[in-house]
Structure formats: C-alpha cells, structure tokens
C-alpha cells in the first residue's frame, strides 16, 4: 500500500532542543528587560532633573512677579480690613485674581506634576533593577 508524505516526514530526523536553551531564552529576556528598565530610568531621571531645575527657575520668577504685581498688598488689605472686603468683595476678588501671575503659576504647577510623575516612574524603575540584580 502506498504511504503518504506524512509517513515520510515522520522519519525525518527529529529536532532535539539544545541543552539549557530554555534558560538561555529566559536569561536573554531578563537581560532585555534590564536594558529597557535602565533606558526608562535614564529618561525619567533626566525628565525629573530638567523639570526640577525648571520648577526652581519658574518658582523664583513666580515669587518675583507676585511681589511686583501687588498681590500681597491686596491680600494684606483683605486680611486687615474685613469690613471693606465684605462691602467690595467682587472688586477685591477681581483685583486679587488679576494681580495673580497666572501663567507662571500654571507653569509651576505643570512642572511640579511632571517632576512628581517622573520621579515616581524613576523610583519604580530603580526598584525593579534592584530586584533583578
């Protein structure tokens, strides 16, 4: 009876796995994992440092503009004369808001968030490196 190619391929030399290939594959993946974590640690660390430097600079600028804007004067007036505040609260609130350096405040907040986020990411990455090593 004629046989089929399936029978023919059954006699094809079986391919045996080299010793320790499974461990080698997992070790290679682990190596790749460490490399990836190191890269992200570097990236997030760099973002963290840059955002911190920018945050310091923007905070100085914020304080300077806050002093120049007269915000502190309005604020001390509100605190010292509550009667005036109650009578003219709408005007006072508007003056207080107008004198606030909004742009530098928003920038400072964004940078603070970026700093916190990148630092958290960098810590997680550093932890995973320490766990593997």
């Amino acid at each position: 009876m004629a046989k089929s190619v399936y029978d023919l391929f059954a006699i094809l030399a079986p391919v045996s796995l080299p010793q320790g290939l499974s461990q080698m594959v997992l070790a290679r993946i682990e190596k790749e994992q460490i490399r990836r974590v190191k890269i992200s640690l570097f990236v997030f660390g760099l973002i963290g440092i840059l955002s911190l430097v920018s945050l310091v600079a923007i905070s100085i600028y914020f304080v300077q503009t806050l002093v120049q804007s007269g915000f502190s004067d309005y604020l001390s007036l509100i605190i010292s004369d509550s009667q005036l505040m109650l009578g003219l609260w709408q005007i006072m609130a508007l003056s207080l808001t107008e004198s606030l350096p909004i742009i530098s405040l928003i920038l400072a907040l964004i940078l603070a968030l970026v700093f916190v986020w990148s630092t958290a990411k960098a810590i997680v990455n550093a932890k995973s490196i320490l766990l593997v090593v």
Binding site: K3, V5, I11, L26, R28
Partner: protein, 178 residues
C-alpha cells in the same frame, strides 16, 4: 510579575515547535539558537500588542518565520524571488489542485536505508516558502488556512508552494537508485 510568568509559560510551551521551525527553515544553521532567542525576545516585547482573538501559536509562528527571514536578509543568502514569488492567481489555483495525488508515495521509497539523510538534504533544497509550508503542514500539522495567515499569503499560493515542494521532494528522492 504577571507578564514574567506569562512569558515563562509561553517559552515552556512553544520553545520546541519554534526551535524546530527555525531549524528546518535555516537548514540547521548554527545560528538557530540565536534566532530562537530573538523570536522569544520579540514575543515578550510585543506581548502587549497581541490580540487574544488571534491564535497564540499562529502569532508566535509568524514572528518566528519573519525573524528567520530577517536573518536570511542580513546574511544576504536568499534571493528576493525566494521570499516573494509573483505567480498569477490562475496558475496558483491550478497548482493548488489535486494535492492529495502527490501526497502518496510508494512503499519502496521507505525501504531505503539512507532515506532519512536524503530527505534532510532534499528539504534544504526547497525554497524558504516551500520549506515553511512543508514544515508547518507536515510536522506541526497546521492547516493551509493557518499557514496562509502565518506567511501572510493567499491560501492558493500556500497550496501551490506545497505542491511544488512535494514535486521537488519526489523528484529528488527518486533521483538516485535505491
């Protein structure tokens, strides 16, 4: 942690079939181990992109085949025509017909002492596409539909690769007297 245990499961389950596929495609080249490692690194890297609707085996075999093709390309040891053949649709359909006729082999062929060695050599002479189809169909028992997905080619093209491969194998196996 879940990702780690998942990749360990995948390596345990698919290492042997992937290694065998790469071994057959490269003709048992010494780089088979490296390519296999590369395949699993790619699987790990792209695990997040894997669509669970798709068969995991098909997805892994696709990566394995593509990684082997990349290796051939880097080695520049494979002509472009071997990677992509431009046959007409009609020719492909004609070629795909009557595969069953080709699958039967005479008993005398199996009586050859040197058959295993001869078959190993015959498989190496096949093109990469033909080798892929033959290995995936005859060794891994995959259907032509699944193989078509792995190779990213129409099913009729896959069938014609298979038919051509069988013709070539028969021709080689019958060449010398036994």
């Amino acid at each position: 942690m879940a990702e780690e245990s998942k990749i360990e499961e995948i390596v345990t389950e698919y290492l042997k079939p992937v290694y065998r596929l790469v071994f057959r495609l490269t003709g048992g080249a010494p780089e088979t181990e490296d390519i296999t490692q590369e395949v699993f690194v790619k699987v790990w890297k792209n695990l997040a992109k894997y669509d669970p609707k798709q068969s995991l085996k098909t997805w892994i075999f696709t990566i394995a085949r593509n990684t082997t093709i990349d290796w051939f390309r880097k080695k520049k040891s494979i002509p472009f025509s071997d990677l992509k053949q431009n046959w007409g649709e009609e020719e492909e359909r004609d070629f795909a017909d009557n595969i069953a006729d080709l699958e039967s082999l005479p008993d005398e062929l199996f009586a050859q002492a040197e058959l295993k060695e001869k078959l190993d050599q015959a498989v190496i002479t096949l093109s990469l596409d033909q080798r892929s189809v033959v290995t995936l169909h005859l060794e891994d028992n995959l259907t032509f539909e699944v193989i078509a997905k792995i190779m990213g080619q129409p099913i009729n093209t896959v069938k014609s690769h298979y038919r051509r491969a069988l013709l070539k194998l028969k021709e080689i196996l019958h060449q010398k007297p036994y």
